[in-house]
């Protein structure tokens, strides 16, 4: 059953050192900023973070990196105009980086959520990102064998949640949220608003309640402050 939280610190309680944390968002769209800020306060360290990008500016994921909590980043596009925090750590040899093509990153997390042991993927064949990976020719096309990426925790930014735990997203902020929600042992979503079970049209639910353990209701948090 999904727990509904008004306090971000309660929502992220219990995340362990050494966890793999999947963090949604493409740049700032869909980034669960309040949850990441709460994770910084929570204090878990030695984290592996899976996120499309490696932080923007000095807040959110960048602040988590700056606080020295992240041992390794797995992402498709760490380098951005405002990724100076990551850039500095990387050049100083203070953080590991695994670069994964964006679609393969998504598919590896989907595989984790869907119980697929591994899959043959055409992306990256013959490139440095396939170095050392098993390959196979199937029906005349070359593929690289890719393994699931499973999270201990997923932090996801959605739009509206219901009390049953269902989520809907908004426009391109949907991006990695629905996939990450399936791929983690503990999925925590922040939403702009929580409604009663039955208020979301069951045809339009994007992340079914089964994938959502905790919801941080930003509407409540804002109303209370």
């Amino acid at each position: 059953m999904t727990g509904i939280f008004a306090d971000p610190d309660d929502a992220v309680a219990g995340i362990s050192d050494g966890s793999t944390v999947l963090i949604g968002g493409f740049g700032m769209a869909g980034m669960p900023v309040q949850l990441v800020d709460a994770l910084i306060r929570q204090g878990a360290t030695d984290l592996t973070v899976v996120c499309n990008n490696a932080g923007n500016g000095d807040t959110g994921l960048a602040a988590l990196l700056a606080a020295g909590r992240v041992r390794k980043m797995i992402c498709s596009f760490p380098r951005q105009s405002d990724s100076w925090v990551f850039d500095g750590l990387y050049r100083a040899g203070k953080i590991e980086l695994e670069v994964v093509p964006q679609g393969t990153l998504a598919e590896r997390m989907r595989a984790a959520g869907a119980g697929i042991g591994a899959f043959y993927c055409p992306t990256g064949v013959g490139t440095p990102l396939a170095d050392g990976k098993e390959t196979r020719t199937i029906d005349g096309r070359d593929y690289v064998l890719e393994y699931p990426i499973k999270g201990d925790v997923a932090l996801v930014g959605a739009h509206v949640g219901d009390r049953a735990g269902n989520l809907v997203y908004r426009k391109t902020a949907r991006n990695f949220g629905p996939v990450m929600a399936t791929a983690a042992t503990l999925t925590i979503a922040q939403v702009n608003r929580v409604v009663e079970a039955g208020e979301l049209d069951p045809e339009t639910v994007v992340t079914p309640s089964i994938y959502v353990d905790r919801i941080l209701d930003l509407g409540t948090a804002e109303a209370a402050s």
Binding site: M1, G113, G115, G165, P202, S209
Partner: protein, 228 residues
């Protein structure tokens, strides 16, 4: 999911075996509050009737829905809203629909807490045979049985312990074609409830019979909770 273990094996004597309805009630009793549950076609479906109204249990049907309600009647019947047995059903608040790849990803990925299945045979190591009698002229049809057996976190089986001819259905090795290997964790039968682990079979409760009588009729080593 946490199932609170009984302290000791209980022999319910002075009564006969469980009736079908009673068996469904016993299974329902063991489903933890708030679980996501898939009930197989046929007898397992009746477990839903015995879940308390406030159980918080959410039913999954593998043809693409979470939050399935009871069977539909009269005006409620909608040909677009059926369960895995193709019976018209209803929708509860908080429901969601999804396509087949997503529905079985949910199952295969280990997100369903409990599924309840019928069986032809269960082996002492938890192998399940429930999709094919092995008869040479039978038309094979598996549906979601293998996906359910492989994917759910806990596979509960409900069946009679013996065939009409008196042959045990809890066996050392399944002779019927397998559905899944070492997947059954709980076996609910008219005569007894069993827990199955890699260590073997433990009798949790008996109904109208004793552990000793069962041990005499089954070709499977039985332990009791008291053996621990």
């Amino acid at each position: 999911m946490t199932v609170v273990p009984l302290p000791t094996t209980v022999e319910h004597l002075g009564r006969g075996p469980l009736g079908r309805d009673e068996l469904a009630a016993v299974v329902a009793r063991d489903i933890p509050r708030g679980s996501f549950v898939n009930l197989g076609i046929g007898q397992p479906t009746t477990v839903a009737d015995h879940l308390p109204a406030d159980s918080g249990v959410v039913l999954h049907t593998e043809n693409g829905m979470l939050g399935m309600g009871p069977a539909a009647h009269g005006d409620e019947i909608d040909p677009d809203l059926v369960n895995a047995g193709k019976i018209p059903v209803t929708e509860l608040p908080g429901a969601s629909y999804f396509h087949q790849a997503d529905s079985f990803a949910m199952m295969r990925g280990g997100h369903i807490d409990v599924c309840v299945l019928g069986a032809f045979q269960v082996s002492e190591r938890g192998d399940l045979a429930n999709w094919h009698t092995g008869a040479s002229d039978a038309i094979p049809a598996v549906g979601g049985a293998m996906d359910l057996a492989t994917g759910a976190k806990n596979v509960f089986v409900m069946m009679t312990l013996f065939t009409k001819e008196g042959t045990p259905k809890l066996v050392p090795r399944c002779t019927y074609p397998l559905t899944g290997l070492a997947c059954v964790s709980r076996l609910y039968t008219d005569q007894a409830v069993f827990r199955i682990t890699p260590d073997g079979v433990t009798v949790v409760e008996t109904y109208g019979t004793t552990v000793q009588e069962l041990a005499a009729r089954l070709d499977v080593g039985l332990r009791t909770l008291d053996d621990r």
